[in-house]
Symmetry: D3
Subunit: 238 residues, 6 copies
């Protein structure tokens, strides 16, 4: 089994991140992981959800969407049929993952909404959304500092995510759509720049997996996330 | 009153159109009219809506959407709240406009869905969607010919659209959002490359207008649409 | 081509307007344009929408509906399936058109909702709704004056609307359903008693149209709207 | 306690029924019970619901709606907010009541939908809908015979309905809205021309009631329904 | 025709009521009428609906649901498709019936929501919900007294309900599902411990019924409800 | 920190499983894990979803719901407001987990729907649903064999699930609601009787966690799931 462009089993797809792609958003980027392209915008509002009022805490939340022809076959527009269970599950995951890198107390009075819209999908859209969404979030926090609304950044850790899987018995990093479709085990990991786990999700699509296999997948993910966070730091902190 | 970049009253905003921006869609483009950016994809399916079966006719339809932070203030995602009346009105307009350039009989057996998703909005999103959507549609028809599914193009006319308005008494072409907000009269025209009208829509926001004023607006629109169609032809027929 | 009852190409259908047909509404009428019958009620509430609070402005809005068997074939009830895009587009048009005849500042503190419910449909339901809705609105304003809630009328202009079209090459006024179905061009115009345009909407159903044809249609519409407004004035100011 | 127009406790409100008020419907009438006005149309379709296919049985069903300003205070349009529980309960009642007068086997292959739309409401809208809906249904059946689609009428009994109540201890027939609002007991009865009960619904709004009181209410209802059916027969069978 | 377990025509099904089956609810019970099992919980909140604020009155309301496999054939989950008209009609009935046993003034400041969820259905689910819902409601009121939130019970009467019907000409008490499906007349009665009627609902499914038959049904219902209320009193007041 | 009933950190809560609690379902059980009580029914239908037709495969799916007062504070009924993202996420998880124990080819022609309805919630409702849902599924498969519809069981593995978490630094098994609310890390594991992983889900609620901590949690889960599967086997295979 040969991966596209002779990619090795433990290699990420080509990665590009363009920041400030939206003239209105407080933070934004376009992240491309291979042919997966996600537009991430972070919108900061000086207002917290009702249930957080007077708690001394701000909030970070995320929404996820996919354009109808982001995929090989056009899918119906969610604005017409409502958000699917899959969409809701993904956006809840993105929100939880991003909050793991933020001190919400330090964001008191503000809500940052991170929109991750998939322009083109080729596997790994939820992990690309987390990695790119973190950049938009970071930039929005920076914007709040520069405009004098916050005095210090609420960011406490860098957060990125990657998918891994076992295909025909071989553990592989950063699956594209074709690989994902044939994977027997499919997992997503979210980690911080300190190498800690934020979120783990793994599913045996066709075959249950052993704890040894899980450890191999974790090794792969740790390597990939390390590279993703290096790129985030390079872009944001130069 | 001075327009951004000293644009004259009868000048279009800077226009750029990039084609084939989506690896799956049969036709696609990213159209930028000033800061308004719309991603247009045309998806061809070998299947017509139920009510057209056995009528010897194909179909062209359009859908329109706006990313939540396409605008200065973030708006709620339509996937969560359903499509607004404004969205439905706009996508019905785009579909009607595009069909005016197509011989539906020559498209028998096929339905082409044109998705116009606004990545960034600065006025004129519906007219940019028509101008860009036509390009995606044209390319999808070309794809059907090249893959042997159609023998000749169902395209019968080039179609483009532009907005015009009267601001502080001065008729102006191709309004941006700030201009549109202060316009007393606001109109959108869709025309063919033969200079014929396909759709006219004009609204007196603050003041009713005379037939003379309508004629001046039509003159402006005709000039702008001529330039837009020249660009379409340059890109598509080079 | 002969019109029903030998109507000439530039003649309106028989018109009747009965006022005060609802014992609760502040203003109401039943307007019959040929076999098209629309019940219009204007409900005045001493309360403005949230976004208008403390702006010194009142509001006028409209809603449109069609009884299930208003048409030749029964259509599903919108209360069961939700308002269609067409319905929303029409009621937005009616609202905009009516506001063109009102000084909203002079209506400060009040919201008038005009309901236009089609009892029987035979073409031109949206234009009949505007012409009849204006009467209901006028009567509701009068009621607010008589009950001492307003000191002067916020009405600044009479507003009426009519449809025109080109059928087999012949421009015609006030199309019925059968005519509308075969029209190559179909347009609706809204004008004031000063002969100014409030709203123009024209669609090439089967053939694009020239500016000369547009001018002929405007002439016809101007004649018809003149007659409609004369009738409105006769009824309201007798 | 004096009733409007000195009506006696056992008297119906003034009743008028105008038939064939809709040019498209197979059967229709406008029924006015005092100030309650309901437009009833019966639409016959040569098609039965899926669950009745090949059972040798036709179907009769009903839908109910109220125009937004049918009432003293305008209520939100159900097309915008969906049908309320009350609306669904009422239309299920109307459908059951009308089916009691029909041999569904004799209607094999047809579905008749009876729409009851309240133009103006002053109490007793559901019972007026049944009494008027039966007339529309009867006329539609007659239409099916006259057009050769049925050979004999599926109508097996006349059906009408009336409300009764106990107000300040006094049983009264055919309550108007003001009376209904103060009634301690409120009941609706549906009966056939043979004096049999089709549907009984009674609610103790403020006070439970005895079986003696129930019998008095039944006496009143029987008298009123007798008069309603006499009117139906006079109109339909002259 | 022989009833299950040789039950006589005027006998209730085996009845069991287990109280306090939910550790959170202020009042709860599981009521089993034959194979019909309904879980009833009463939730007391120190808050009234908006329209009752400052009226000196509390509120009691009910909701009804059925688990998907409560019935012989699994039915779609209402959480996925929305509440049916039948469900809404039933829960409105339960709420009205329960309020007949409560002095709402004495419940000022509180809203008690009674949830009746059918675990298994075999006919008579709405009447079992009323009989069991009353017990949950009574216990919740008792809880409010014991926790010092109320000083005296707002309960003014015991309320219970039962179904009756005519099957092959024989009036029968407390129908199970199979009996209910073949009944020509089907009625539900709600009564108080004083023998007064709270709610009557009767429907001629296949045949209209006479007042004599109605009286026989009332006799049966009165007997059954007497037994149900005796059981309620035994459980609640020992 | 002392657990309820002095439970040790690696102990399950008291577990009880009652089978065949529903007279209609092909398989059913009531599972109680401490105060968490879930009613599981498996409904077998001889019909597969459209997208599986003629693929030689059957299907297993799950739905999840919670009664309004299953929790300390009553929550709004999902039948009124629609299924939340959380509910959809949980029922997708349950379905995936159960399918891991089934050879879908051996279930060709059948769809088994497993409904998991939470009667009372005290933490771990999704894992109890999986453990109990498997029992209902197993029983339904057994029923298909006994009724001659299948010749051999499609069950290929026993599947059970448990939650684990880190509370104040201490890894604990099978969290109740209070524990879950204070957990810094919260994870759910699904495993087979062969000790293989089917699904892993872990979230750092307040603090990211190390791979060592993950391993400790996996050890705990493996112990708990072993005990749960022993109980399943005891009940089903005695």
């Amino acid at each position: 089994m040969i991966r596209t462009n002779n990619r090795s089993a433990d290699a990420l797809r080509p990665l590009s991140i363009e920041t400030n792609v939206n003239k209105y958003a407080e933070g934004s980027c376009l992240i491309c992981c291979g042919d997966t392209k996600v537009l991430c915008t972070a919108s900061a509002e000086e207002k917290v959800p009702g249930w957080l009022k007077n708690t001394g805490s701000g909030w970070v939340t995320a929404e996820y969407g996919m354009l109808p022809r982001a995929t090989g076959q056009r899918v119906d527009r969610e604005a017409k049929k409502g958000q699917s269970g899959r969409t809701q599950e993904i956006q809840r995951l993105i929100g939880r993952a991003l909050r793991a890198g933020v001190d919400l107390k330090a964001l008191d009075g503000f809500c940052i909404k991170v929109d991750c819209d998939v322009i083109q999908a080729d596997g790994g859209t939820r992990t690309a959304s987390i990695t790119g969404g973190f950049i938009a979030l970071y930039l929005a926090c920076h914007h709040l500092i520069q405009t004098g609304k916050l005095t210090k950044s609420p960011i406490t850790a860098f957060v990125a995510a990657v998918s891994v899987g076992i295909i025909h018995g071989i553990p592989m990093l950063d699956l594209d759509y074709k690989e994902d479709s044939t994977a027997g085990v499919d997992a997503n990991f979210v980690m911080t720049d300190a190498g800690k786990l934020v979120e783990i999700q793994g599913t045996a699509e066709h075959q249950a997996f052993s704890r040894d296999e899980l450890n191999t997948l974790l090794d792969l993910a740790q390597k990939g996330i390390g590279e993703l966070i290096a790129k985030q730091k390079n872009i944001l902190e130069g």
